[in-house]
Symmetry: C2
Subunit: 274 residues, 2 copies
């Protein structure tokens, strides 16, 4: 199983990869390209409408691999943290409506100089959200981010750290998202992937382009950078993960490319590199 | 001791902070500013001449906190690795001539897609260099680099990883350099600093500016970013480290500033933030 050939049965288009496409366009693009999964983003779902997005996906016979994003837990005030929790509950509801059982958590940056406080707020946020998500049948996938994005996106910066939070919960409820861009540099990557066994709720493929002016946009197509994507994918599969493999690429050049071209290249590189 | 007030008795100008200054100019600048230590770079020492640099420093009554840099161990061929070892031995000799017992190791990027091979070459390189350095009375300080610089500078990206190499050697011979820019994001920073007790051969102060176009140049003056520098310095001191505190800032704006102004600001921020 772990070394099964990478046919396209697990391939998912994370819709950030085709950032200029609406939900409808992305759904139709996947249908044309024969891509069975799509990863949705809340802002684009909101643009199209939640019910309409759910219907578009269902009518096209697509499955939703995940919804991005919940998280962003740190807030300066108790009211701010309650607002964050409320928003996360809405994200859980949206995930359920869209027919996916995975909500990706981008945990949030530090508020000021205090990393410890932000990390404690993340732990508390997951703790508060977990029962609600469990009731809705939605799993929470904590996505560790590359340390370079810590002050922009997430104080959770290693797989080990994400797992330290996840292991306090039932493995069927709280787990991790492994995005190769965020974790490939880690000296203990493979031991932490093994440790994540049973808790990997998503796998994101892309590549590392460095140095680039905009760190958020410096992700590349698989094969355009140095990441050992196949090795990481095989290690993830060894843990028993058999779920979708999302291609998620933040990259202005790719966004400027016609979506169908991107999907064609994505399928080719998926077969060659993932 | 650990909480001793940050007077300037441990302050060191890493000469990269005043990149437009020659060794002579940096030495004179430190003398004018009453800064007792200087961290030298081999390229600038070569420009001025090794013997002349040593004499300039000695005549000014300055002490050399470290020499940058050895390392860059990975090479594609056995001949390349021998050349790297030869260059590292010259770096050891230069450190001894300049009157410092600390050679900073920037371990080197991966050659191609294979991180494991590069990391093995780093371990092998330190192993081969250590006896020569011990004979010369020069300690090897492995500097872990921020993961964002892995493909540019170093496959050693965490303090834990640097220590995993260092602990195989006598603690008086191989240790680590703690640069706040490179390690501040780590969830296990303080436990790894504690683990480094007796092996911290240098402490570098600066700050994190993000996002910046050029990652190599995105270091800032202490206090201009989010790093808890004082907390990290106190943790380092708690391990028993009483050595110099180098200010090392790669930043074009700072380089464009008159050196004396930079040193004045550096002293002020050192007192306020380090």
């Amino acid at each position: 199983l772990a070394h099964s050939p990478p046919d396209h049965s697990r391939l998912s288009l994370n819709q950030k990869t085709t950032n200029n496409w609406s939900v409808r366009q992305a759904v139709e693009g996947c249908a044309r390209a024969g891509i069975p999964f799509i990863g949705l983003w809340r802002d684009k779902v909101a643009d199209t409408g939640l019910a309409r997005s759910a219907r578009l996906v269902r009518d096209a016979g697509l499955r939703v691999s995940s919804l991005c994003r919940g998280g962003m837990f740190p807030a300066a005030t108790a009211a701010g943290r309650r607002a964050s929790l409320d928003d996360n509950r809405r994200a859980v509801d949206e995930a359920a409506t869209l027919g996916t059982d995975v909500l990706v958590l981008v945990c949030g940056p530090p508020l000021d100089l205090n990393l410890d406080a932000a990390r404690a707020m993340v732990e508390e946020g997951v703790h508060e959200l977990a029962p609600y998500a469990a009731q809705a049948g939605v799993r929470l996938g904590i996505e560790p981010f590359h340390p370079v994005l810590m002050t922009e996106r997430s104080v959770i910066v290693t797989l080990a750290q994400a797992l330290d939070i996840a292991v306090r919960f039932d493995p069927s409820r709280v787990g991790v998202i492994v995005d190769v861009y965020h974790v490939w540099w880690s000296p203990d990557l493979y031991s932490q992937i093994a440790r994540a066994s049973g808790r990997i709720f998503g796998f994101h493929a892309n590549d590392w382009l460095s140095p680039e002016p905009d760190l958020l946009l410096s992700r590349g197509m698989m094969g355009d950078g140095p990441i050992e994507i196949r090795r990481i994918r095989e290690a993830v599969d060894e843990t028993g993960y058999t779920g979708p493999i999302e291609v998620e690429i933040f990259n202005q050049d790719i966004w400027n490319t016609p979506g169908d071209d991107t999907l064609a290249l994505m399928k080719e590189r998926y077969a060659a590199c993932v």
